[in-house]
Subunit: 333 residues, 2 copies
């Protein structure tokens, strides 16, 4: 059978465009003993994938020009000669950006049944949700009564970080890029929401939103947001550095904050982390989050694009603020 | 009797000059019960004092214009009506920048006898030495076999950090501002020393000096040194932020490093600290360092200026690289 896939056509400089992606088809052979055939149902687009489009050493290997892109995906086994992955199993993998593929089961997990769409295993029950939880609990050690600031707060990670912050007993201040996103977070009970595109000065706006100061900053953005956080951190504040999306498409080095001396003055701790290094805690997270989702204490929002053809647009949309919550692509009709 | 003292004449912008200091004399009254009179023998000048010349909220109150400056000092009790501070006692205090003063004993410590000049209680056995130890052991948790990078490495803190790094089993790479200082550190057994003033590119020089990468950076300088460290850190590297002397005299905001994304890519931890918050561990430090000094495993270098008149020059000299090791002012002939 033929599988459709999206390959990297060329390495983008600046914001990726449709021209950096190409769709083609590959002939899949018949499966052999120990293999199974997967039809992908959902695929994920995430900001970190931008880093893999650059040819450089990082925590994850760069994408190869002319080869299919990779990323989180949820599929269904439609043919199988593997006892652990019978036909009908729903599986998660890192083999997104393609309609079908053959696997021997390595790096595949059979998903449990949940009363929600399986697509949430790409979001709140997957890497982005686990990232929010890891940053708040294991990196920043947020405590009840503290003030948390979350940037890119309506994104896949940020929206979970905000809601977890409230469940952990913190006052939560969020930054987003539209009034519509701000209203949505307010409706979720987030204490104060800044629209960074319409405020004159993020640092001043943050100071007004959190006159008591910030104890923990969940950093997704970098640049002016980091400067604003450093200005407003309390003594012994912690910054969990998850991403710096404002810089992923920079074509020239962007100077960092001019107020890094606050690290000394306020005795701050700034720590970067990669969620995969904390994955042995996923079971603990998934059980807890499953309960919160079941009771409605966490809302799992998604923005869904339809069809593999639209996967590049979904990805590019991440950098244009097109998503509320997790951006996913539905690969079936 | 009259005491001579140095007061803050005006708040400097940029590098302080002699004009920002003024010497005057004050009449001291007779001591009363519970008081004692101290003649200062030595006083300390330290880079952090620059921050106290600015009128801003920080971890320590700003200096007041027209009042005597403050800083570490070693004095001798020459009159006493206090049972715990008999005549002849050597005491440490924060009441430097003056020839004599009256105390009730608060924030004063009677010094033990050591086979070295008491001035070392302002350096290797005092705040700067304790800072080096705290940063390496309690903040960065340097381990044997790792590579340590120290900037401002011939200064009061840096020279101790380098030597402690070697005693802890690390490979030590240092940055200094003259070939003479580099030769001196080489003679102390420091593995590689960069002269940042003569190398074209600190990051490239650091990469050559430590092709295995940096595990711990002891940050005293900021700016290009921080950029270079971020470029060369290994995964899970730690940066103990003690100071950013390159920025203390800036008159306009200086942009920070453009490569902060390394915090995520390399999963770095950057932590600022103030030694006074760790002072309950001073006894542990002093005992260990006393042994190292006695056996010659640590060399305690000093640069000594003579006389209270020269205290401003000594202080200004810190920012001009005039000191090797601890800069102190001898207040007696």
């Amino acid at each position: 059978m033929k599988a459709q896939q999206i390959v990297l056509a060329s390495r983008p400089e600046g914001l990726p465009t449709a021209a950096h992606f190409k769709q083609n088809s590959v002939e899949l052979p018949a499966i052999q003993a120990g293999q199974f055939l997967v039809k992908n149902l959902w695929m994920s687009v995430d900001p970190y994938m931008r880093g893999r489009m650059i040819d450089r050493k990082s925590y994850i290997a760069p994408f190869v020009i002319g080869e299919a892109l990779e990323g989180g995906a949820i599929g269904e086994v439609i043919e199988s000669q593997h006892p652990d992955f019978p036909v009908g199993s729903k599986v998660s993998s890192m083999l997104g950006w393609r309609s079908h593929y053959i696997s021997d089961g390595s790096d595949h997990t059979v998903l449990p049944n949940i009363p929600l769409s399986e697509s949430h295993f790409l979001g709140v029950l997957g890497m982005p949700g686990m990232t929010a939880w890891t940053g708040l609990t294991r990196i920043a050690e947020l405590k009840a009564g503290e003030t948390l600031f979350v940037s890119a707060a309506s994104g896949a990670v940020g929206s979970v970080a905000c809601q977890l912050g409230k469940l952990m007993g913190a006052t939560v201040v969020a930054s987003v890029g539209s009034d519509e996103k701000a209203a949505h977070l307010n409706a979720l009970g987030i204490d104060k929401v800044i629209n960074y595109k319409t405020c004159d000065d993020i640092s001043a706006a943050l100071g007004q939103a959190a006159p008591q100061g910030i104890d923990v900053y969940f950093e997704n953005v970098g640049g002016e947001h980091l400067t604003a956080a450093l200005d407003n951190m309390n003594d012994h504040g912690r910054i969990a550095v998850c991403g710096m999306i404002s810089q992923y498409n920079d074509t020239a080095p962007t100077p960092g904050p001019s107020n890094l001396a606050n690290i000394i003055i306020k005795k701050l701790k700034i720590e970067g982390f990669i969620v995969f290094e904390h994955w042995d805690h996923y079971g603990e997270y998934a059980q807890q989050m499953g309960q919160w989702l079941a009771t409605g204490q966490v809302q799992a929002e998604q923005t869904i694009y339809q069809g593999l053809d639209n996967a590049p647009s979904a990805f590019i949309g991440l950098f244009e603020g097109k998503n509320k919550g997790k951006m996913v692509v539905k690969l079936t009709d």
